[in-house]
């Protein structure tokens, strides 16, 4: 699909690749404050359905904050103020009437450090169903198998489903967390530097996995690793000091960026 002609909006340069099914999430004029310090400034971007969107930028640029705003994980922080909209299916997720729990069920999330619960592998995977009150054993087992296969962990884990998840290696634990995130059949998968705590081999497996999952899920991935962003994503958003500088198709961002800041960052001049 050809890259869209570059457009600018509030200082952001857009030239993103459009998905076939439109956008999954629309972020418009989103600002966020931690107490009195502003962390995000007027971010406007659309996450394309079925594509992988990477968020890159130097530390502290607000990419994790943006990601965590998408499923309202930031609600846990005291003194958080936001303005602007994030819409999912034309409904603003920051509407006071939004059911946050239902919202989170539509978005799986994978964290920087693998965080399996201190339970068996099986119980970890079906946790989203457990909290929904699903009791049917057939459904639970089917889901566990599907999710573990989806996360490419089935072969390694099928014989030890009822052993503690804490006995898995770091890479396996992270894939387990991905399995847990997709077990509830979400529409969007949010990944917050999912490979930063893993070794290169485990990282490669997760990247393969992201590739397999794309198309089925809309994936937003925060990464510090520019090669990774280049390898796995369709679109890349470059953020700097809380602003979205450039949001475009990954190839252009890394080979032919439209702004000097992006150029400097992807060539390693700073960051």
């Amino acid at each position: 699909m050809p890259a869209q002609a570059a457009t600018a909006n509030g200082g952001t340069i857009y030239h993103l690749k459009k998905g076939e099914q439109g956008s999954a999430l629309d972020i418009s004029d989103f600002c966020l404050w931690y107490g009195s310090s502003q962390a995000l400034f007027d971010v406007t971007m659309a996450v394309e359905r079925g594509l992988v969107t990477a968020l890159i930028g130097p530390s502290g640029c607000g990419k994790s904050t943006l990601l965590r705003s998408l499923n309202r994980m930031n609600d846990l922080i005291d003194g958080l103020v936001i303005s602007g909209n994030v819409t999912l299916d034309n409904r603003n997720i920051y509407d006071p009437r939004t059911d946050v729990i239902a919202l989170r069920k539509r978005m799986g999330m994978v964290f920087q450090k693998p965080n399996p619960f201190p339970m068996s592998i099986y119980e970890n995977v079906i946790y989203p169903l457990r909290v929904d009150g699903v009791r049917d054993k057939g459904v639970l087992e089917e889901t566990a198998e599907r999710a573990l296969k989806g996360a490419a962990l089935w072969e390694e884990a099928k014989d030890r489903l009822h052993e503690s998840a804490l006995g898995l290696s770091g890479g396996q634990q992270q894939r387990l967390c991905i399995a847990r995130a997709i077990a509830g059949d979400p529409e969007v998968l949010l990944m917050d530097e999912p490979c930063s705590a893993l070794d290169p081999i485990a990282t490669a497996r997760i990247e393969e996995l992201i590739d397999e999952l794309s198309g089925h899920y809309s994936i937003v991935i925060v990464t510090h690793n520019m090669q990774q962003a280049a390898r796995v994503s369709d679109n890349t958003a470059f953020m700097y000091l809380g602003r979205l500088i450039e949001y475009g198709d990954t190839d252009s961002i890394f080979t032919n960026p439209k702004t000097e800041k992006t150029q400097d960052y992807v060539t390693g001049r700073f960051g």
Binding site: R104, P128, D132, A181, L190
Partner: protein, 576 residues
């Protein structure tokens, strides 16, 4: 250039002057010694305390030989030598001594040795123990044939067996074998146990039913009035039941009377060392042995049978004799109830404080207040427990549910339930603080992982946070339990009594009687050691009971720690 060279030279000189050897205080050696010393000091104190308690506790029940001491004036006394000490004689006493003894004491700067003998025979001598100064002793022997007997009343008897009387016939010592005596004694004791069973359990049950009927009538009177037909009906029923129960009572009383008469007929004649005779029913002897004649195995037999009696019997003789079963049971039941009350209460409070309450000034004030509660003297809790739980809460319960028993209080006085709740209140800060710490220690990543899966906050807490915090919460509960089980002062106000032979558990509905007053090992120690007629007799019991209390608390803590470690193992391997 010159300046630079000069500066370099100066720096070189400074480096040379700087001390290259790290001194002791920098290495921290002296502090390390101080730390190790403090630990060693603490250990020595604890080990010393335990050794003292256990040594004194363990030897108490071992039979000692009985010495027959002939005094300078020809008088003879017999008793277990308990301990010896050096003491200073007062001048008046010294002046009255015979010249030989006086010279002996004066040669020792006015000091002399004396030995404490447990002579027993309180009914004859009016004392249980007697100090004998060394200068007063002419001869010490360990004669054979002297027995040491524990009696139901009047404490121990030290002396010889003179005769056995059955009805009118008297058989002098020597005309019957020891086996015959033992067999007769066992029979008498079996009859005695049967009498007790009849009086306590069977007649007790009759009385209980009678009381129940009376209360039923009173209830009808209170609800329907004294001239209603229901009242007349209930009254007729009471009278019918009364007659029936009276017949049962009479039958039991007759049986007990017959047995008692049989026991009265079987008597033993004992004589103390000065040949004063004492005739008492054979059944009044709990246990006796020939202190100077029996061998090691017989002594061990006596030792263990005494332990068994101690653990399984009720107290006698103002708690200085007999067993402590009601106290063990009371301590145990109270501690369990305390845990049952304090664990949910403390955990729920801490959950709200840590997870739901908005962290601000208000919560800070609450938290400080909770911590301060831990510093309030425990007797204050006792006063509060008596005033609030027993009088206000218990009084209201009585008004509502037991009006027929008034003015006799049911819940409106101290009891097991109120004591447990008072101690729960006393120990709840410990649980709150420990639970808060445990909750705070659950990694944020766990909560976020759960929330991101679409779990509500409540689901996250119950499914992820609480199980993970459980070992820490258990630590708090163990600390609370240890504190609660060792507390005595508030209990004296809210339900612990000197003697409560009735256990809070019996065969009558509702089987567990939380309103009953109870005995407690801690209070038992205080009572035996400091409230009994002879503190010398109570002293060994203090050690034994202390040992038992320490053992009971250690046992309960050990089981709680075992549970905690199992929980902890479940979460082992966690990488966070």
């Amino acid at each position: 250039m010159n300046r630079l060279a000069a500066a370099t030279a100066a720096r070189g000189a400074a480096t040379a002057r700087r001390q290259r050897v790290t001194d002791l205080s920098a290495q921290g050696e002296p502090f390390l010694w101080a730390l190790g010393g403090a630990l060693a000091f603490g250990c020595v104190m604890i080990v010393g305390f335990l050794a003292l308690v256990f040594w004194n506790g363990l030897v108490t029940f071992y039979p000692k030989p009985i010495a027959a001491v002939t005094l300078a004036n020809g008088e003879t006394i017999a008793g277990e030598p308990t301990r010896s000490e050096r003491y200073k004689l007062s001048p008046e006493l010294l002046a009255q001594l015979p010249p030989a003894a006086k010279a002996e004491v004066e040669a020792d700067d006015g000091y002399a040795m004396r030995t404490l003998y447990r002579t027993g025979n309180f009914d004859i001598y009016n004392e249980d123990f007697r100090w004998v100064p060394a200068f007063n002793v002419a001869k010490v022997e360990y004669p054979t044939g002297i027995i040491f007997a524990e009696r139901i009343e009047w404490g121990i008897f030290v002396g010889r067996i003179k005769a056995l009387e059955t009805g009118e016939t008297r058989r002098e010592a020597g005309s019957f074998t020891e086996a015959e005596l033992r067999a007769a004694h066992e029979e008498a004791r079996a009859r005695w146990a049967r009498i007790r069973h009849i009086e306590k359990n069977e007649i007790g049950a009759v009385n209980y039913r009678l009381d129940e009927e009376r209360l039923r009538l009173r209830r009808v009177e209170l609800s329907k009035g004294a001239d209603s037909p229901a009242y007349a009906e209930a009254k007729a029923r009471l009278e019918a039941r009364q007659a029936e129960l009276q017949a049962r009572y009479d039958a039991l009383a007759t049986e007990a009377k017959a047995l008692r008469a049989e026991n009265e007929a079987q008597r033993i004649v004992l004589a103390e060392i000065g040949n004063q005779e004492k005739i008492l029913p054979l059944s009044a002897l709990v246990q006796f042995y020939e202190a100077n004649d029996i061998g090691l195995f017989a002594k061990l037999g006596v030792y263990f049978s005494r332990w068994w009696k101690f653990l399984s019997d009720e107290p006698r003789e103002a708690n200085t004799e007999g067993g402590v079963l009601p106290a063990i049971f009371g301590t145990f039941a109270m501690t369990i109830l305390l845990v049952v009350a304090v664990a949910p209460f403390g955990v729920v409070t801490a959950l709200y404080l840590r997870e739901y309450a908005k962290q601000g000034r208000m919560v800070a004030v609450v938290r400080i207040s909770v911590n301060n509660l831990a510093g309030v003297p425990s007797i204050v809790y006792g006063v509060f427990g008596l005033g609030f739980f027993a009088y206000i809460l218990g009084g209201s319960i009585d008004q509502l549910f037991f009006p027929e028993r008034l003015p006799n209080p049911t819940f409106g006085t101290g009891g097991l339930l109120w004591a447990s709740l008072t101690l729960a209140l006393l120990t709840v800060p410990v649980v709150i603080v420990a639970t808060e710490e445990a909750l705070a220690a659950v990694p944020r990543s766990m909560r976020e992982g759960s929330l991101a899966c679409g779990a509500s906050k409540w689901q996250t807490i119950t499914r992820i946070v609480l199980p993970r915090a459980m070992p820490g919460i258990m630590t708090g509960i163990i600390l609370a339990m240890a504190r609660g089980a060792g507390e005595v002062a508030p209990l004296m106000l809210v339900g612990v009594v000197k003697l409560a032979p009735e256990l809070p558990v019996d065969g009558f509905f509702p089987f567990i009687h939380l309103e009953r007053s109870f005995m407690h090992l801690g209070f038992h120690i205080y009572d035996v050691g400091f409230q009994s007629r002879n503190s010398e007799a109570g002293k060994p019991m203090v050690f034994v009971t202390t040992m038992l209390l320490i053992g009971l608390i250690a046992l309960m803590n050990a089981s709680a720690i075992l549970i905690r470690n199992r929980l902890r193992r479940k979460f082992a391997g966690s990488q966070f």
